[in-house]
Assembly symmetry: C2
Homo-oligomer: 214 residues x 2
DNA sequence: TGATGAACATACTACCGGGTATGTTGTCAA
DNA sequence: TTGACAACATACCCGGTAGTATGTTCATCA
């Protein structure tokens, strides 16, 4: 319950549990996913999971945290690029979408976590851990948010409300976690092509000058 | 279990149940929402709900269906407008977004239902009812889809893959069901202003010509 | 080599929630 | 007036699941 954001000891057994848990949470949702099922998918039993995690909520939190770690890592090469906002945004957005596709299960869990937080579907004990996670994810959103702000200042992005626009942009970039499903014989190029279409759509939403008239 | 899509007898008692159920499903999700809680929020008990619905799944199905009914009704005045695709699309999209905001609980339930179907989180008995509902919602999506196709033929919309674009567009238009929350003192004009920003973003995603080069 | 603890499995408890069976009350028609 | 039925409430059953308590195995180290 007091796992620090930065200190994971990701031995391979824990990693296996995390992957299995992410998949279960993705397929069933938080409430419907059972610890027994996660264990079964590993060919193990509850004992293994409760040996590593004190509760279901803590397991879920670790999946969430790991998913966010992956996202930070994905945009790390681009977030501090100097220069105009648009090319930096494109690189970050593309990396983000690729992450959504390639680590879908974890990203879905992140989504579920955010939803639970927004709905207040957390017990007081979970609140502390959850608030930390939400802040972690919030800071990630702010990286994009700042780029949006810069882009507007440069006159390449057009929008009224920064918060709403950031929401809309993330909705688009995150959307593959819902509708993407891997096809047999799919190459990396295929996935990148997909991601490009997603980024293009989002970019269009940002760069288009809107008329003032109703 | 064999409620026809078109034949509702929406007496007021059932309507109250539907509204309460929609709210609970929105706040907790399908699995975590309990019949007891729905009843409690009505100042009643399970007996009332099971008198009207044979199962939780059937109750949920009716919420889903009612939500979709509202959507069809919302775009009805515009869907058969003659003329260019863009203005028709804007009217439909705006009406759709307004629906997402004003009937949020029902629309959230629809989303949950679609998600459950995509994940295959349905028992064989539910399948029949669910397939019908998904088809109902699919036909609704096709109304927009057809407009997107026409818009591309007219040279005002630019995109590669119709299915993906339709997904991205709906993701944007539906997004208020996640991040919108009513503010005190909010007027209809405020909500319409919000909806306009959402539609603008989506329109930008559709009308922007994308470069061929990688 | 014996002891210790990590890494699990097994067995069990407590509780919650879907569903059912049955009781109760008001209404309306004959 | 009564009886029949709709519209619930009450009481109960039962399967599933989070969490716990305890047993077991294996490696490591003094």
């Amino acid at each position: 319950m007091t796992l620090d954001v930065r200190e994971h000891n990701l031995d391979s057994s824990r990693l296996d549990i995390l992957r299995a848990a992410a998949t279960c949470f993705m397929e069933r949702g938080y409430a419907a996913a059972s610890i027994d099922e996660v264990a079964r998918s590993l060919g193990a039993t509850k004992g293994r999971i409760y040996h590593h995690y004190p509760s279901k909520a803590d397991l879920f939190a670790d999946v969430f945290r790991t998913g966010m770690d992956m996202n930070y890592e994905a945009i790390a090469p681009y977030r501090d690029l100097a220069g105009p906002a648009l090319p930096r945004w494109r690189r970050m957005a593309f990396a983000h979408v690729m992450q959504m596709i390639t680590t879908r299960a974890f990203q879905r869990a992140v989504w579920i976590g955010v939803e639970m937080h927004l709905r207040g579907a957390t017990t007081p004990e979970q609140r502390t851990v959850f608030n930390e996670l939400i802040a972690y994810r919030s800071a990630y959103g702010d990286v994009f948010r700042e780029t949006l702000r810069q882009g507007r200042a440069e006159g390449v992005f057009f929008y009224e409300d920064l918060s709403i626009t950031n929401q809309l942009m993330f909705m688009t970039l995150n959307s593959p976690i819902f509708w993407y499903s891997p096809r047999s014989g799919e190459t990396l190029a295929d996935i990148e092509h997909l991601a490009t279409q997603v980024v293009d759509f989002a970019e269009g939403g940002l760069v288009t000058r809107k008329e003032q008239a109703a």
